[in-house]
């Protein structure tokens, strides 16, 4: 009996010895390994996308959440000097005036323009993203506002400030000079004509290639040791600005109407000619459709929320991108991206795939932590209220694309962002998240609010 008790004790002791196990310790972020790149001073040249332009305006709350700012924070770069704008932005950003019940109403927050708060900065800005800037503008001042008032672009005065070409400012007017450069051009060349419903003024791919080569050569000469990542050009015809409004007649609950023979009933387009399946109605046509334009006589527009008889007047050419025009833009996107890929490959430059990101949004949607985000205007959760520019969440997704490209190219180990940390309840954070009603944005437990 004694030996049996001893045996039981042995088993009991064994059980106690193995029954305790400590829980896992928190994991700390690995030290940044920059690989072949140097992230001490990050600077950017680009367009509205780089500037953080959203909901048809530029304001500090979104400027500090552009992919440029997020990338610089993520790599621990020198704090960025930005051309910040306070108040409601320049121009005042759009906001949702009414969402529920329909119709959706979007209008500027106010009539009061914000003001630049950092105009007196004695150096260049680290982020030289300028809404509407063309690749040509990087090295040539010819088309800046003072020389060409018709361009009507206030952002050169705010960002470029008459201090010389953008490339020169980035290379010579930052102290310390940039060690890593984000470069994003090509979208303005396409968006400019497209939002006017025309291909007139479209920069040819030959010209674009020549400008790209010249610009990159100049930057390579002035910043020979600076590594670079380029952002490619998205298919703008997949953006909500071009895809939200149907080219068909809609009934009172928004369903497309058909003829008795089953064929679709299209809106009237330019010259009162019925549109075709591939024609795109621009978001700027919304008030016209609400007023009965595009609807044949005897039909009714319900877009305003109340029945409005169709006036039989087709939508103007500036409100429609025809099938042929849309195909032209799509071809040009491919051409521009070929130029970008070719130039990047020749110069040891990484390429972030913005086109792929937006294509995913437009096809399958982007699932983040079991929430599906799509390109759907407003409710899709990725685009701001102008239907073209990404919101803060999508800027964070773009930052992750940049990080992925940079890590792959230069052997760095920059950790990706949790994009949901940058999501907000409403698309336009012009007045700051803290004033977005009583609802704080959802943040996973344990994650500090940015």
């Amino acid at each position: 009996m004694k030996s049996r008790i001893q045996a039981l004790l042995v088993l009991a002791v064994a059980a106690m010895l193995v029954s305790s196990c400590s829980k896992i310790s928190p994991i700390t972020a690995p030290a940044l390994r920059s690989g072949r790149a140097d992230f001490r001073v990050v600077a950017a040249l680009g367009t509205s996308l780089s500037a953080g332009f959203q909901s048809a305006g530029l304001v500090n709350r979104h400027q500090t959440h552009s992919y440029v700012s997020l990338f610089a924070q993520q790599v621990g770069a020198h704090p960025l000097d930005l051309p910040l704008i306070d108040g409601d932005g320049i121009p005042p950003l759009l906001e949702i005036k009414r969402l529920i019940p329909p119709p959706l109403l979007i209008a500027p927050i106010s009539a009061t323009f914000g003001s630049p708060t950092n105009l007196a900065l004695p150096t260049a800005y680290h982020n030289m993203g300028i809404p509407g800037a063309l690749l040509f503008d990087v090295t040539d001042t010819t088309l800046y506002t003072p020389q060409l008032p018709a361009r009507n672009n206030p952002y050169f005065d705010i960002v470029q400030r008459g201090r010389g070409p953008l490339a020169v400012q980035i290379a010579r007017q930052l102290d310390p000079p940039p060690t890593f450069l984000l470069f994003e051009y090509g979208s303005s060349e396409l968006v400019g004509p497209a939002i006017k419903g025309t291909t007139l003024g479209l920069t040819t791919n030959v010209t674009f290639a020549a400008q790209m080569t010249r610009t990159l050569d100049i930057l390579a000469d002035s910043l020979p040791l600076t590594k670079m990542v380029m952002v490619n050009v998205p298919d703008l015809t997949s953006l909500p600005f071009f895809t939200t409004l149907s080219n068909r007649l809609l009934d009172a609950v928004g369903r497309p109407l058909s003829n008795p023979n089953g064929s679709p009933r299209f809106l009237l387009g330019p010259n009162n000619v019925p549109m075709t399946a591939g024609d795109l109605v621009l978001l700027t046509a919304s008030p016209f459709l609400a007023g009965g334009f595009g609807y044949p006589l005897g039909t009714t527009s319900y877009l305003s929320g109340t029945p409005i008889p169709g006036n039989g007047i087709g939508l103007g050419d500036s409100l429609v991108l025809s099938t042929a025009e849309a195909l032209t833009f799509q071809a040009q996107v491919r051409n521009y991206n070929t130029v970008i890929d070719t130039c990047a490959a020749r110069r040891d430059i990484a390429v972030a795939d913005l086109r792929g990101l937006f294509r995913t949004a437009a096809t399958t949607g982007i699932e983040i932590q079991r929430v599906l985000y799509t390109r759907t205007f407003v409710t899709g959760g990725l685009f701001s209220l102008d239907g073209i520019h990404p919101n803060d969440l999508a800027q964070a997704l773009l930052c992750n694309e940049v990080i992925r490209a940079v890590n792959a190219k230069f052997g760095s180990n920059i950790t990706a962002l949790d994009p949901t940390r940058f999501a907000t309840l409403t698309s336009s954070r012009a007045r700051g998240a803290i004033e977005e009603g009583s609802l704080p944005p959802y943040l996973p437990g344990g994650v500090p609010q940015p």
Partner: protein, 431 residues
């Protein structure tokens, strides 16, 4: 037989619910006999009690008379998680609730003078029990807050000798299963900023649903002191019906709450499909000097059958969901030793259990990982001819830390750490 009825009733009353990490790889449970577990579950060839109904029905031909067996295990798991970027982020740690689980086992065998042997078994060969602490704050609650899979398997087996050194066994299995899945639903805020709103608690609860399978086994004694066992248990597919309760969580904004309420599916009947994989085991045992037995087992589990967990909503098919799993087949290698003495029997064993979940599927529902188990066992005999036996075992299951390597399907990245202590006993009687 009164004892048998009592044990069976007790087993039904405490249907097994196994912790996620107590199981064999995936959601299998191999804790089906204290004696065999003392040898790390290496019993396909040498099993010599009524648990042969589970480990190898052909071995029933070697069990004289009538045998009854009842027992169970106490499983104490601990699982914790440390997050990395991008979600939930560095510095975040989570922990499962501390729980204990009691999978039961009961077996009865009888050998007839004709050589035929019959056996009945009641056990829980699969199970899952997950419940994370602080369900309102748990960073993975959009995936799972709580998940339970309970199974109860009733087996009827028969065996007959095929000559003096070979036996064949076969049987049928009636498996009842029940699942409970709870998570939180988030939606993109309608304002377009991409912000997420936690809008509902979703609770899928199933009825007890039967499924059917079969099993077979061979027991061969090629030479004196050597035994070889081979078994196969078929897969079981269960089409489980139940209901889903969706409880709206207020966002604090009445307008948005109204919009969310209009979009949330109503409470309704729902169903899912559970796949319990096939298992094949090959064991070789060698007895030495009448006191020692050594056995090695290779166990193959067809986890590739666990491709997904679909959830079908009866009234709103647009809400149907599919949790992708795409498991891989896996192997276990088990070795054990038994030394039979006058006063008691010592057992010890070790096993290596290969993870079945690909890295993409390692999630808070089932943080599967490679594991190594070390066991000690003790057998005590009582009464005339030691007809009553008490077997005990202690299992320390060391689960390898498992990282998601940035590829988790639900974007929940980090590292899981688990450990399980399991203690069990069984009482057996023969006459």
């Amino acid at each position: 037989m009164r004892i048998a009825r009592t044990l069976l009733a007790a087993a039904v009353a405490c249907v097994a619910l196994a912790p996620d990490s107590a199981r064999a790889a995936g959601y299998g449970i191999y804790e089906q006999s204290a004696a065999v577990l003392g040898m790390a579950g290496a019993g396909t060839a040498s099993v010599h009690d009524a648990s042969a109904v589970f480990f190898n029905p052909a071995a029933m031909t070697g069990l004289e008379g009538t045998r009854i067996y009842g027992g169970g295990s106490v499983l104490q798991p601990s699982t914790s998680f440390a997050g990395v970027a991008p979600h939930p982020g560095f510095g975040v740690t989570e922990e499962m609730k501390s729980r204990q689980f009691y999978p039961p086992t009961a077996y009865l065998t009888h050998r007839y003078p004709t050589g035929w042997a019959l056996g009945l078994g009641l056990n829980s060969p699969f199970g899952l029990g997950v419940e994370w602490k602080n369900p309102d704050q748990f960073t993975g609650r959009y995936i799972v807050a709580k998940a339970n899979l309970r199974t109860l398997n009733a087996s009827l087996a028969a065996a007959h000798p095929l000559g003096h050194n070979l036996s064949f066994g076969f049987g049928g299995n009636l498996v009842f299963a029940n699942v409970d899945l709870v998570n939180r639903q988030f939606v993109a805020a309608p304002g377009g900023g991409g912000g997420r709103l936690e809008v509902a608690n979703v609770d899928l609860t199933s009825d007890w649903t039967p499924g059917y399978g079969w099993n077979t086994g061979f027991s061969w004694t090629p030479w004196k002191n050597w035994k070889v066992g081979l078994t196969y248990r078929s897969r079981v597919i269960l089409h489980v019906d139940g209901k889903v309760d969706i409880t709206q969580i207020s966002t604090g904004n009445p307008t948005w709450d109204a919009a969310v309420a209009a979009q949330l599916p109503p409470d309704q009947a729902a169903s899912t499909v559970l796949r319990l994989p096939a298992i094949a085991a090959l064991g070789v045992a060698w007895s030495w000097g009448g006191a020692w037995t050594l056995e090695g087992n290779a166990v193959y589990t067809e986890w590739s059958t666990f491709k997904d967990l679909p959830i079908y909503f009866q009234r709103t098919p647009s809400s149907n969901d599919r949790v992708v799993e795409e498991y891989d087949d896996s192997f276990q290698f088990r070795v054990g030793a038994e030394r039979r003495g006058q006063a008691f029997t010592w057992r010890a064993g070790y096993y290596l259990d290969q993870a079945a979940a690909p890295t993409e599927s390692v999630s808070p529902i089932l943080p599967d990982a490679d594991r190594q188990g070390a066991t000690l066992g003790l057998g005590l005999g009582f009464g005339k001819d030691k007809r009553l036996t008490l077997d005990l075992y202690e299992l320390a299951l060391f689960v390898a830390n498992r990282k998601t390597d940035g590829v988790n399907r639900d974007g929940f990245e980090g590292e899981y750490k688990s450990f399980v202590n399991s203690t069990g006993l069984s009482l057996a009687y023969r006459w």
